[in-house]
């Protein structure tokens, strides 16, 4: 199982280590540093690195490498999932997961790591349970602790730990009972030069924020459940009921959680909300290149496309870009060659465009590579797959909760090749 954990920042310093079994010398990380040196980009460090006596499994999140050391045959995904859980927990506790936040809260960090793993076996990883064991630091609590001398370690065995619903604690009370569900869909797509779709798929999630008293039992039904043929559920969802009736029936965790994530595959027809007209070209023998980009809405079902951000990695030979946006602002980083254009909202009457010239190094030959255009966008009040929630019912409690549902579509990895 998991032996040790090292946290390494982007400049290659080990700033935290934790051992669950015997101590593993930090020199084991030298193998990681070697791999890091070989990788051109920070994200290109391979996740599994063998060393003579150990295996290093790492994830990169928030510019911090979480490197787990294992000694025997352990499922790597198990380790990776656990590391992600550690990151999520830190984020949950400290708001952000940065080197500074971890160093500031080093005591809580150690207390958490000690609770999450015992002898390499995961112990308590549900945020509900952890929060009962170790209370998250807040300004108020810090002050209270300082004055009264009380600690942030819970004294009681968390109630949820062993019940049939380990994700929910008992005795939850709210004055306002509310349940909100966000249906968020991300479109991953590759569009080729000519504008036709090579692949397009939708990654959707339903994130919930449930603040309900007691032990409510919810059911959520959809207008068109057939869309959901590839789903991953939160452990609270009763799978049998879904199989039989296509209804989500569950006792929700308290607070924020991801109820469901789903995937609408490339075999279904996926609507592409925007189109891009582009002309990025370099002439042989000239140190100038042309850049011409126009965006327009495509299949948006009448909703407006907002928060559009266009980024593109221009060829290495490009020195400067002199462009003229019809709306929004653009920046070009001459070091990373990253062009980024913050478009804002697309007005169908007046399509946004970015036109101008790029200059190359004098005497440099025409670049070989074609830049890819990355698009981020948001469409409110619409799930692009067409998924619609039919109704939400609550059983087991008497009060009437306030219910809300929101839809949103975003671009995930939306790439246009030129």
């Amino acid at each position: 199982m998991i032996h040790s954990l090292f946290l390494i920042n982007s400049s290659g310093d080990i700033f935290l280590e934790k051992h669950w079994k015997s101590v593993v010398s930090r020199s084991v990380c030298d193998y990681f540093f070697e791999a890091q040196e070989r990788a051109t980009e920070p994200e290109n460090v391979p996740p599994v690195i063998p060393t003579p006596h150990h295996y290093l499994i790492s994830v990169l999140r928030h510019r911090i490498y979480f490197v787990a050391v294992i000694q025997s045959e352990v499922p790597p995904l198990f380790v990776i999932e656990f590391l992600h859980r550690v990151v999520d927990t830190f984020q949950d506790y400290f708001g952000v997961c940065t080197e500074a936040a971890i160093k500031d809260n080093v005591v809580v960090v150690y207390e958490l790591l000690e609770e999450m793993l015992d002898n390499g076996f995961p112990l308590a990883t549900e945020s509900n349970i952890l929060k009962e064991l170790i209370k998250p630091p807040t300004i108020l609590r810090t002050m209270v602790n300082t004055i009264t001398g009380s600690t942030n370690v819970g004294e009681q065995l968390p109630t949820g730990q062993l019940s049939v619903v380990p994700w929910r604690r008992t005795g939850v009370k709210y004055t306002n009972n509310e349940a909100y569900f966000d249906v968020v869909e991300e479109i991953d797509a590759i569009i080729d030069k000519s504008g036709s779709t090579i692949t397009a798929e939708i990654q959707g999630v339903i994130d919930a924020c449930v603040k309900l008293t007691g032990m409510p039992d919810l059911t959520l039904s959809f207008m068109n459940p057939r869309l959901l043929d590839d789903v991953s559920f939160h452990p609270c969802v009763r799978f049998k009921r879904w199989e039989a009736e296509r209804i989500l029936s569950f006792i929700p965790p308290d607070g924020n959680f991801r109820l469901l994530s789903y995937h609408v595959s490339s075999q279904n027809l996926v609507a592409i909300p925007v189109y891009v007209k582009h002309n990025i070209s370099f002439r042989e023998g000239s140190s100038q290149g042309r850049f011409d980009l126009t965006l327009g809405p495509k299949q948006t079902m009448g909703k407006s496309v907002e928060a559009v951000l266009v980024t593109s990695q221009l060829p290495r030979g490009v020195l400067t870009a002199n462009l003229n946006p019809s709306q929004g602002t653009y920046t070009f980083d001459p070091v990373t060659k990253m062009l980024s254009w913050d478009v804002g909202k697309i007005n169908p009457q007046k399509l946004p465009s970015l036109k101008g010239t790029m200059s190359l190094q004098a005497g440099a030959s025409k670049p070989d590579e074609n830049p890819t255009i990355n698009i981020q966008l948001k469409i409110q009040q619409m799930a692009i797959s067409g998924l619609k929630v039919n109704r939400l019912d609550m059983y087991g409690e008497k009060y009437k909760p306030f219910k809300g549902i929101k839809y949103m579509t975003k671009a995930g990895k939306f790439q246009v090749r030129t």
């Binding site: 025997s72 045959e73 062993l162």
Partner: protein, 815 residues
């Protein structure tokens, strides 16, 4: 800002610690807060200042006189941190207690006050916090005593009611017990006491910590509390105790056996709480890794049923342990396999990718047992595809592991993902390790139906920035050409387009793959040679140069200026790599055999370069062979050098079927990431037994229609490679044949004799056969003249088939 945060920040910057905070330092901090609380004096700064210090006012009253006395008394002990601690503590306690402490210095472990509370926890938490705050102001120049020397004092704190302090003390013990084993024994009583605390949290904490203290003496005392905790009424304690058995086994395996803890663990499999079951399974599987008998958990249908019940209710991590355990089970028939599959399938919809992949492993393994024409088999295949696709929408690290596993799955059962090739298309900002894996899988899935799409993608990739990826993309085009015959022409024209880009490394890589295409489709695409020759000068990598030279030599009769081209390479002959030199030598000899009249001089030149001026024995030998062949028997030379070459096929990059089957049993593990069997790389795993896919018993008869295979060396190598415990011996009785007729008889039944030898009057026959499902069986048949009983030794990676092979032998020989 919290005082602790500040303190830590300060420590982080100071020279006291190395610049980072580890467990040790954390405990150091904590201990410092709680135990070395000299607010007025920094411990090592000498006690003279102590008596003068005006700050003493703030502390509980002690008389000046006593203080002075103390200083003189304590003088020689100043460097003893315990003494200092005790001394400093005096500031906060009453006079009575001060005397008590004085005594306590001699009886450190029994330092308690009248009310039985250890001295340092006499302070209320609020007081302690105050102390710490004060200390924080003072610590600018403080230096702390060696942490491990505080051991007795820390142990005294164990009996506190403050849970945080207790946790810290436990943490401290885990770190330092090893350095002071004699002292650690002092903690035993408290542990034993805590193991009976009314609060289950404390019981669990105590047994958990005790297992982490790797001191033999402590371990002895652990057994009784552990036994109790394994039967505790609270499941939380039971599940912690289960893990503790694994810890204990790591420290002292013999003791765990002797004390019967393994049986207790097995009993926990039947526990009513799913979490306890899961942890017991996890502990058992960890123990079995280092246990000589790897079959600790008896997987019988009852146990399997318990596991399946627990599977639905335990946490995600527990599900992983249980699924991994299930995958070791061999169902007795297809009905059982199907019912397990039905209960495992819902796990495919789990949000945790590790659970999904473990479930995939179980299903992939049990699929073997299901009849291929059944409806359920096909439904299951369909169900496997979406979760695998979903794994690819996870974080890049998850994608990587998923892709390595999918690579195995598409080789074993390409039908699962054949519709999904698009999800393997590369996004330009994928990390390079994801890109390379996706590419590999794309080629494996390429078929006539999707080749156009695949080629368009590959061509796109060939214009990307990353050189390694571009090279692999170009190579992939070549592999497509070899794999999908109908697409060869398209691939070649794509490659030609790429050569036109004149990007150096693209051209070179393209030429290397075109050579392979020529090997696969001889005499089909020679028209492009002219284009290739245009790029001759730009080739600077040995691979590409060798490929080009090979092409020129192979098609010398169609290239008018072949001699000129090859001559141009000859100029820097000695600077070339061996690979290029060898190819060049062969190419010129080919050219000479095809056009003897014009190239005599050239061939002389290269032969003398190779034989006289070269230090490389390979090159020299090849040179001499050609030279003698050419000078003695040109006809034979032609036969040898210009012989027809076997075609190459795409099979070359597939994983060998037996290995693939073994890896399928290890889906989700490190083995599946490295594509190597665990025995090849997991250290110290003497307990690792090779896993095999289950086989449908009924089909053995059919499968024994095997093909002849293996040559002597292969036989020998394979024989050595298979572990000895896989060798099984059988007696074939009452058979009156001699060695030759035996071998003849077997040959008629497609079992071929590879070698035969006579050892001490016995005839030994070596035979090999391969079942249609890819399992190799090696056989040694010993025949003693005059003895009608033959000995048959069978060696095979899947020893469970040996029995059936023996039956086949028996029936063949007696027929």
């Amino acid at each position: 800002m919290d005082f602790r945060e500040e303190q830590i920040a300060r420590l982080l910057n100071s020279n006291i610690v190395r610049g980072t905070a580890s467990d040790e330092q954390w405990v150091q901090l904590i201990t410092d807060y709680f135990l070395t609380a000299p607010v007025e004096v920094s411990p090592l700064s000498g006690s003279d200042s102590e008596s003068d210090s005006p700050d003493t006012d703030s502390s509980p009253q002690t008389t000046d006189a006593e203080e002075d006395e103390d200083t003189t008394e304590e003088q020689p002990l100043l460097n003893d941190p315990v003494a200092e601690t005790l001394q400093s503590v005096r500031h906060y306690v009453s006079e009575d207690s001060a005397q008590e402490i004085e005594r306590a210095r001699d009886y450190r472990c029994s330092c308690t006050f009248n009310d039985g509370v250890p001295c340092y926890t006499r302070y209320t938490p609020a007081e302690m916090v105050k102390r710490r705050d004060q200390m924080n102001e003072m610590t600018n120049e403080a230096s702390f005593p060696a942490v491990s020397s505080l051991f007795p004092d820390v142990v005294n704190c164990m009996q506190t009611d403050n849970l945080e302090l207790k946790k810290l003390v436990y943490l401290y013990l885990m770190n330092y017990a090893k350095s002071q084993p004699d002292m650690a024994i002092m903690a035993v009583n408290s542990f034993v006491k805590d193991c009976e605390d009314p609060n289950p949290l404390i019981r669990a904490l105590a047994v958990r910590t005790m297992g982490c203290i790797r001191v033999d003496k402590i371990t002895e005392y652990l057994c009784e509390p552990l036994r109790k905790c394994l039967k505790d009424e609270d499941p939380y304690v039971r599940k912690t105790a289960a893990v503790c058995v694994a810890k204990l086994h790591d420290i002292n395996a013999q003791m765990v056996e002797d004390q019967g803890f393994l049986d207790s663990l097995r009993d926990l499999i039947a526990d009513s709480n799913p979490m306890v079951v899961a942890n017991a399974v996890a502990a058992l599987s960890e123990i079995s890794e280092s246990h000589p008998n790897s079959n600790l958990l008896d997987l019988n249908p009852q146990n399997i049923n318990k596991l399946l019940t627990a599977l639905n209710e335990c946490t995600e991590w527990g599900q992983i342990f249980i699924l991994d355990c299930l995958s070791n089970y061999n169902p007795k028939d297809e009905r059982e396999a199907q019912s397990i599959c039905e209960r495992v399938t819902p796990r495919l919809s789990h949000a945790n990718s590790a659970v999904v992949l473990s479930a995939v492993k179980v299903l992939m393994k049990f699929l073997e047992l299901l009849p291929k024409d059944s409806d359920y088999y096909n439904t299951l295949l369909k169900k496997l595809s979406p979760p695998l696709v979903t794994l690819l929408s996870g974080e890049p690290e998850v994608q990587y592991v998923a892709l390595r596993n999918i690579n195995l799955i598409v080789q074993k059962r390409p039908e699962i993902l054949k519709q999904e090739i698009k999800v393997f298309f590369v996004k330009y900002n994928d990390p390079i390790y994801v890109k390379l894996e996706k590419l590999d899988i794309m080629i494996r899935l390429a078929s006539q139906a999707n080749i156009a799409q695949v080629l368009a993608e590959l061509k796109e990739y060939a214009t990307e920035v990353d050189v390694d990826f571009v090279r692999k993309a170009v190579r992939a085009i070549g592999r497509c050409a070899i794999k999908v015959e109908q697409s060869a022409e398209r691939c070649v024209s794509t490659l030609l387009d790429l050569i036109q880009t004149k990007v150096n490394y693209v051209v070179q890589e393209a030429i290397v793959v075109i050579r392979d295409i020529f090997r696969k489709y001889p005499n089909k695409y020679e028209s492009i040679i002219a284009t290739l020759c245009e790029n001759l000068d730009s080739l600077d990598e040995p691979d590409a140069r060798a490929a080009m030279i090979w092409i020129v030599g192979e098609y010398a009769e169609r290239i008018d200026n072949a001699d000129e081209l090859l001559e141009s390479f000859l100029e820097g002959f000695h600077d070339e790599s061996t690979q290029v030199q060898l190819t060049l030598l062969t190419a010129i000899v080919k050219l000479f055999l095809k056009k003897p009249s014009e190239t005599q001089e050239l061939v002389q030149q290269v032969l003398s370069l190779a034989t006289q001026d070269s230090d490389n024995p390979d090159l020299r030998d090849r040179g001499y062979i050609y030279w003698r062949l050419l000078s003695t028997d040109p006809v034979t030379a032609k036969e040898v050098v210009l012989s027809e070459k076997p075609l190459i096929s795409e099979e070359t990059d597939l994983i060998e079927p037996t290995l693939l089957d073994e890896l399928i049993c290890h889906i989700g593990s490190l083995a599946s990431v490295y594509h190597k069997p665990p025995s090849a790389f997991v250290e110290g795993s003497h307990g690792v037994h090779r896993k095999h896919l289950p086989v449908q018993n009924s089909s053995y008869d059919k499968k024994c229609r095997c093909r002849p295979s293996s040559e002597r060396q292969v036989f020998l190598a394979t024989w050595k490679d298979i572990p000895n415990e896989n060798e099984l011996q059988y007696q074939i009785k009452e058979c009156h044949l001699n060695a030759d007729s035996v071998s003849g008889k077997l040959q008629n039944n497609n079992i071929f004799t590879i070698a035969k030898r006579n050892v001490e009057g016995q005839d030994m026959l070596y035979q090999s056969l391969k079942l249609t499902n890819g399992i190799w069986i090696l056989a040694e048949l010993r025949i003693q003249p005059g003895n009608p009983n033959y000995t048959l030794s069978l060696k095979c990676r899947a020893p469970e088939v040996s029995q059936y092979v023996y039956l086949t032998y028996d029936s063949v020989l007696k027929s």
